[in-house]
């Protein structure tokens, strides 16, 4: 029952975020700030994760290729496909749900319990829109770049892992990366990423915005924001894969 109510409240909040915005210039600076907190500040963790993820995928593929019938370039091919289709968009989004989601939920939650949101409301400002819209816009526009960055690093990680350990030659791996390439896969991955970005921000902001109580409850909201955005991403991933790929 509670969950159904929450879904209703979530959509009411979304409506409040997307309608009756404040003046345009109010948002521009906030969006730029959010690009920094959501995008730039996540590059480190995304980079490290991607390199190791790509390396492990390539090594796993290489170690599982016993049959001499399978050409070596399959390693490159599989590294590329799995990175682009699933690992970068989904895994990185899940990681960001933890990092960015908890950040957003606790920031907005703290503003709620210290009455800062009430102060905005009193001034006649659409607090939901003022606080959440810039984060939404920033995340939806910056995450695709982060994911492209992650794809590149993953493939690079895979490349170095297998070439340095002599499991595959430079030419074979590069041939594999380029084999049977479909540009639409990238589009698919980026569309997916944008959906995930929307989910991360809106779900965690929802839990932050409706925090009640004190510091303890901010912690709870932050956890719930992460848990529910993760679950929503997984479900959305399933649905989107069905819709777009099949």
């Amino acid at each position: 029952m509670n969950n159904i109510q929450n879904i209703g409240k979530y959509f009411i909040l979304l409506k409040q975020v997307l309608t009756q915005p404040e003046r345009f210039r109010v948002y521009t600076k906030r969006v730029a700030n959010e690009w920094e907190t959501i995008g730039l500040n996540s590059m480190g963790i995304v980079g490290i994760l991607s390199v190791f993820m790509g390396a492990v995928i390539a090594l796993q593929t290489a170690s599982n290729m016993d049959s001499p019938l399978l050409p070596k370039y399959t390693i490159g091919y599989i590294t590329r496909s799995s990175t682009i289709l699933e690992f970068s968009p989904t895994i990185i989004s899940l990681i960001l749900a933890g990092k960015v989601g908890s950040n957003i939920a606790s920031e907005i939650g703290t503003m709620r319990v210290t009455e800062q949101i009430d102060a905005l409301d009193i001034m006649g400002i659409n607090s939901a829109s003022y606080l959440i819209l810039p984060k939404l816009v920033a995340a939806v526009t910056i995450l695709p770049f982060l994911i492209i960055f992650s794809m590149a690093l993953s493939i690079m990680g895979g490349y170095y892992a297998v070439t340095l350990s002599n499991l595959c030659s430079h030419e074979e791996f590069v041939y594999g990366i380029r084999a049977f390439f479909e540009p639409s896969n990238i589009t698919y991955a980026l569309v997916k990423t944008m959906c995930f970005a929307f989910i991360i921000v809106s779900v965690s902001a929802f839990y932050g915005y409706y925090t009640k109580g004190g510091a303890l409850d901010v912690g709870k909201s932050s956890t719930q924001g992460v848990v529910w955005s993760t679950i929503t991403i997984l479900i959305a991933n399933f649905i989107l894969t069905q819709l777009i790929l099949l």
Partner: protein
């Protein structure tokens, strides 16, 4: 003038406000007093629309606030300044940005004009040269005063202060009281102040409403409050030893 008509408010089973009727007049400091947890903050939040009333209505100079939609409320809210019990400064902004924030949102003033206005407001609360501090770098009392500066930056018609002098030393407390009194008279504001502080009650209470058990228990001014024989008021007013002694001397 703000009129509160038949307001009821419950949280689940808990009935906090019972049929509250009150009028707050312009150019006067209206006090809401009462013991802790009796519903003073809830009443103010209902008046400014941060909480929806269950039944009853609120009128700002005849405009029925409770029946308005978001857009119409927004217009009235531009005329409201509020000081929250916990200051509620935006902690990601400096003091100056906090005070300039409503100006940024609603006026087309130039940067210089806004800074001038911020300095003027800071001066009124005796906090010059704190412009570039962050709220976390200010003491509790300073935060209160900055919050007042922010509340008056738009020259509001209605000013609400939830315990403006709790946690302040007696001198600063008097300064804040005087400030509230001055601006109320100077700009003919309708000011509503929640307080526990008997000093402020005596100092600035042009009109006093005593809330007990979620009801308007008593109404009057700061002279009548000393002489009433309402037992709850006597309990409240003469709770401290000092006031008890004073009463002994008076009679």
């Amino acid at each position: 003038m703000i009129e509160v008509k038949g307001v009821n408010k419950s949280f689940g089973e808990k009935h906090v406000l019972h049929d509250i009727n009150a009028e707050f007049h312009p150019g006067k400091v209206n006090l809401i007093i009462g013991q802790s947890g009796q519903g003073k903050s809830v009443l103010t939040k209902c008046i400014v629309g941060l909480m929806e009333v269950d039944t009853g209505s609120i009128h700002f100079d005849g405009r029925d606030f409770s029946a308005m939609n978001r857009r119409e409320r927004r217009e009235i809210r531009k005329e409201i300044g509020m000081l929250f019990q916990g200051s509620a400064l935006f902690d990601s902004m400096t003091v100056e940005q906090n005070i300039m924030f409503p100006l940024d949102m609603y006026t087309s003033m130039t940067k210089e004009e806004k800074i001038d206005r911020a300095n003027f407001c800071l001066k009124r609360v005796n906090l010059e040269n704190t412009n570039h501090l962050f709220p976390a770098e200010c003491s509790g009392g300073m935060q209160k005063r900055i919050a007042i500066a922010r509340a008056i930056s738009m020259n509001p018609k209605y000013l609400f202060c939830d315990e403006p002098n709790s946690g302040l030393d007696p001198r600063t407390s008097i300064l804040i009281d005087n400030l509230i009194k001055e601006i109320t008279y100077e700009y003919n504001m309708t000011t509503v102040v929640i307080t526990h502080d008997m000093n402020s009650v005596m100092e600035i209470g042009d009109k006093i409403i005593f809330i007990n058990e979620g009801k308007v228990w008593w109404e009057g001014d700061n002279k009548e409050i000393l002489t009433t024989n309402n037992p709850e008021i006597i309990d409240f007013v003469y709770a401290s030893k000092f006031m008890k002694n004073l009463k002994g001397k008076l009679s």
